[in-house]
Structures are given as C-alpha cells and as structure tokens.
Subunit: 402 residues, 2 copies
Amino acid sequence: MTDFAATKALFHLPEGVIYLDGNSLGPLPRSAPDRMAQVMTREWGDMLITGWNRGGRDSAGWMGQPMAMGDKIGRLIGAEPGHVVLGDTLSVKVYQALASSLMMNPGRKVILSDTGNFPSDLYMAEGLVATRGQDHSLRTVAPEDLADAITDEVAVLMLTEVDYRTGRRHDMAALTALAHQNGAYVIWDLAHSAGALSVDVSGGGADFAVGCTYKYLNGGPGAPAFIYVSPRHADRTPPALSGWLGHASPFAFDLSYRPGAGVERMRVGTPPVLALAALDAALDIWDTVDMQALRAASLRLTDQFIAGVESSCPMLTLATPREHNQRGSQVSFRFAEGYAAMQALIARGVIGDFRAPDIMRFGFTPLFIDQSDVDRAIAILTDVLHNRLWDRPEYRNRAKVT
Amino acid sequence: MTDFAATKALFHLPEGVIYLDGNSLGPLPRSAPDRMAQVMTREWGDMLITGWNRGGRDSAGWMGQPMAMGDKIGRLIGAEPGHVVLGDTLSVKVYQALASSLMMNPGRKVILSDTGNFPSDLYMAEGLVATRGQDHSLRTVAPEDLADAITDEVAVLMLTEVDYRTGRRHDMAALTALAHQNGAYVIWDLAHSAGALSVDVSGGGADFAVGCTYKYLNGGPGAPAFIYVSPRHADRTPPALSGWLGHASPFAFDLSYRPGAGVERMRVGTPPVLALAALDAALDIWDTVDMQALRAASLRLTDQFIAGVESSCPMLTLATPREHNQRGSQVSFRFAEGYAAMQALIARGVIGDFRAPDIMRFGFTPLFIDQSDVDRAIAILTDVLHNRLWDRPEYRNRAKVT
C-alpha cells in the first residue's frame, strides 16, 4: 500500500499554497537538487566524456538512461519491459509515432483525431501531412463522433486519453479495438494519464503511446518525453526521425542508417543528461507507488472536490464526467467569469488554471495533495465565488507563488 | 581582448588532466551548479507554473529563453539578432532545416551532402526521404567532388563546416554561392564550428545553420541544439515539425496551426528549462569572448601542437589540413595503432579521442587550454608513442578521469 502522507513529504511545496496544477507542471522533488548537483559535479565535472559510459544511476552510463528510465515509466503505463524510451519533447514523439504509422499503412491517407485532443498534437499531424506533400489529410471530429469516423480510410487514429480541458477519459481498449477492426493503427497520448491513472497500454492494445514527464510525473519544466511501441511493431517500425542514437551501432559511424533493436530506434539525438537527472529523482518516488492505490486515492479526492464544490458553489457547472471510468485525475468547472475567478483564487493560494473559454481546471495528485487540502481548497473557492473577490483590485493580478 | 587565463579559471578541470576533448563534450563551468540550483529551488520549486512567465534570467520568463539565449549564440556565429532559437537536439534541427528546404524547393528531389558529414546528419536525411515516400533521394559525394555535384537537380546542400574526423574546414561562402547559383538551398551544420571559429553565417549566405551546444559551447551533456534561419526565409519557411511553441499564439489553443514570426516557428515543444540553466552559465563566459581573438588563440595552439608532434612523433601522419583557412580547432593524426595509443594517452591524463579507422583526434579550446597544456600534451604523447605504453597492461584500459 502506498503511503501518500510519506510521498507528500518528498516534495517542496511553497508555504500556504494548495497546488492543484500538478497536471501542468509537477512540483520539485526535494531530492532532485542534490541528485542534479551530483550529476553536474561528480559526473559531468569529474568524468567528462567518460560519463557516457560510467555516469548515471548505478554507474551504468548516461547512454543507457533513456531505456533504463523508460522502464520505470513503462511500469506506470502498463508497458512490457524494454518497450519505452525517453527523449525529445512530446510533440517530437507524436510526430515519430504518426510518421511510422503512415509508413506502416501506406495505402491509407487519413490521420483521424478529435477536437478534444491537444491542439499541439493536431499541429504536428498538420506538419507531417505538409511534409509528405501528398494527398494525406488530418481529419478531426468531435469526441462523440469518433466511432462513426473510424473507417477503412483511416491510417492512424491519434487520441489523447484524457481531455486537457474537461478531464473526459476515452475508452482506450474499445476505441483501439474498433480501429484495429478497421485496419488502423492507434497512438495514445498519455500526457494527462501517465502518473494520473492506472493505464494499461499493453492490455488496451495500443500500437504507440507517447507522453510527457513534467506534469503528473514531476520531472521538471521541459523534462523529456517518452514513447512506447508495442512489441508487435517494435522491430518493424520504420523511424522517420532516424537519428544516430537510434542506429543499430551509433559509434560505428556508418554512412547509412540501420535501425536499432525495438524501441531504441525511436531514440534520435544525444540524451538530455541533466534533464534526466531531475526526472530520475522524481521516478524514485514513483517506484514506491502502486498505481491501483493511486487511482483509488485520486478518485476519492476528485469525488470529494466535486461534491464539496457542487454543494457550496452552485454558480459553477461541472464539465468533467461524473462516472469514474470516464474521467482522469482533474476536475473542471465551467464559469463565465472563470478567468477572473481563477486569478483571485490563485491570489488566495489555491493554484489551478484556466482554459478558454470558461474552464476552471483543477488537477488532483495524490502524491502531494490530500483530503485536508481539498477541504481548504473548497472553502477558499467558496469564499472567492460568494464574495466575488475578483472585483477587488488586490485580487485582479495573478499572485506570485513564492 | 579576451583574457584566456581568466576564462580557464572559470571551468572545473579534473586535477592532472589535459582535456583535448572539448570538441566532444565541453567541461563544467564552475558557475553552472549554482545557477542550476537557483533555477531548481527558487524557480521550479517556489514559482511552480508561474516560472514560465517570471523565471529565468532577469525574471523574463522561462518561455522566452530559447530566443534570448539564441541571440547569445547568434553573436558567436555571425547571425543577425533574432534569428537563432534553441531547442531539441541537433538531429531534430537538421530534419527541420532539410524538410523546410525541400518544401521551399518543391520541383527538386535531391539532398546533396558529402562523406565528411556527420553520419547522423545523413541518417536524418535518409529518414526524411523515407517519410516523404516520393522520388526524393540523398546523394553523398566525396568532399572534393562537391563543386561538380552541385547541379540544378539539387534541392538542398547539407554540409558540416568542419569534418569531425579530420578537422578539414569547408569554404562556407564559396560553396553557398555555388549552390545559390544553381538554385539550391544550403544548410550548414556548425557542431564543430560554433565556439571554435569566427563563423559568419550571415556574410557566408547560409540559408539555415544548425549546431549543438555541448561541444565547444560547454552547455553540458545533451544540452539543447540551435537553429538559424536566414532573414531571407524566416517569415516564409514552412515548418515540418509544427509544434505548439512555434505557433503564432501557442496559448490560444487554436485547432489549426499558424506559424509564429520568423525563426520562432522552428520551436517545437516545451523548452528544456533545466538544460537551459546550465547552458546559460556557459554562455555567460562566451559573452566575454571576442571571436577573432579566440580564432587567433586556437590557431596558435593548433600550430604549436602540429609542429611539436611532427618534430617528435614521426610515426604519426597529420590528417588535418595545414592551411589555417582550411581547418577548424582540432588536430587529427593518423596512426595504425591509434586506438590503443589513445587509450594509453588517456591513462596518462591527456584526453583526446579516436575515430575509426585510425584517427587520433585532439580538440583545442582556448577558453581552458593554454600553451603549457599543449607542451605537456606533446611531451606525454611522445612518451606514449616512443615507449609503446599501450603494450603495458596498466595502460590498456581507458583510465578513469576522476
């Protein structure tokens, strides 16, 4: 059983702040600065280039970290060992998964997604379509219209499991099965799932999964992304971004590319060693977490928040599905004056965020948010709303969180 | 005038080591750990998400750092202000430049490069060709055959200015002019130029330039890459990796992509804030450096090394051009037993590296290597070679650099 009181003590949280924005940028693990200092001085400083072979955790070498740390994330998302690798940004990983899917499904021309996806994922699809310069297209439908839109024209279905605005969760297994029945590959973006839910990419049949590590995983601002490739495809996936670290033999300096084994071919350039050091400290905490327990705790917190806010703040309208299996680890409410209200709330020390046009968004992260935080957040939100604190000048500008 | 004795004191160099491998991974700036600790605790830790707007140098926000720091690199490579941006890895930046070039030159199908290029750059070109799935091709010729190969079939010429093995330097202005006369775009990879030479991408007419910051620029292992887009193209370049940070309005969350102004459209995902913190410390040192003075110092050191080694180690054959304008800031010698000899040399504290089949490579970095280092390196190399130290068991394994 995971001890969430113990994990809370492992994070630095500013005094007086209730941080309900860990779904945007996770907080600092207290161990991360020392781990970083160690890597900078004892590894980069003292080992210099030999760090590539003998730096990093267990002196196993910086070079191996993207795979070793990938496995730690793999456990959190239900991946088979050896099938997740870290690197680049989520957008780049989306591009890789899309490009590989199109190349593996050459007779089809349509990338299908929905309007609940991150716009950034749609942008990457647009860029890929433009790069190919052929008759490919990106087709985007409403989330509820997906089942009808999965036709035999679709090369690849690209979805984000949890909607970044509403917190609505797709049924990964059902949509993946439907896509497979229609001959399409499926890419799942887990940006709001990894570290938030008990994800099962293997059981859900995902062909590819991608995600970032700076939200629920607490890897730090701009921390590296990850990509999962199903064992069904890992050794046959053509990599579009065929970089030297994905080469079968990077240091042979061959003039021609030969893809490395399995998901290693999804590596592109030199690993971001310093960024990985911070993430490594964050993953130490995750190593202690049971994902079923996390999900149960998340549902308790979100149920508590929904019930409390609905009973005391009738001016807000729940935007997140009420059913457990249809939502992630965030709760969103619609409110016409949501932007101003959120500024006032932040000024009062409850940090959530706002997404246009009217969404007040709150992320619940059991690693460092507990029931007493939720009670306090409800009380402060109630005060902000009933007293319209955003009408007072001192609450109009976003407060400094120091 | 740059004071190179002063800059040397700003780096941590392990006791007893002469580090002639700063062209592979630059050493740790002494100020970098404190700068990193500051960013981790005072910014990530205390500011949390508000760091995006008020973290970073001068509290200008993490979000603006890729452009602000890009300008510091821009000065070192002769770029116009506002035309360099940081992010991703060099391989990703190569892909972006190649894809944009092909899209801007749609009637042509050939990417031209040479066998002196980094294999990794060639791999990325192969991947792009495969992604496009059309009749495009990568054509690779010997460096001396380039002039004849620049024909009206060529969409884009992609070259690395300084050959990573021999240190041979291409004539950027001449090759660029020839390519332009033939209607081709030119991409220059400055991985072994930025911080090594007085580069002039603007005067040289480059269409795109890319580079990494972990070699001569000392940004740390896996530090972010940079890309320059000429002002001639910056506002009309279609970005292939059309990520949300390259969008004209990233936080509007539009469902369609609209490219940002100028080189900002080459941004892809979330900036690597922690990696940028280390690089920021390194760039503080570069801010004090006059690039003409750096080049003069580099030539003095490399001349000294060539003369000393040639006079005392006749078994080595110089692989680097002797003429100043035809070489970068490294010196390479061919030696049949080069691999073993380099291991022994490293065991004696002189760190260079080896590139197959027979290249012993030495990088000269005036920021922290001086004439007395060169004298000592020559003396130790002479001892290693004349006494065949690699025949002794204690010199056979690569020494630990601690």
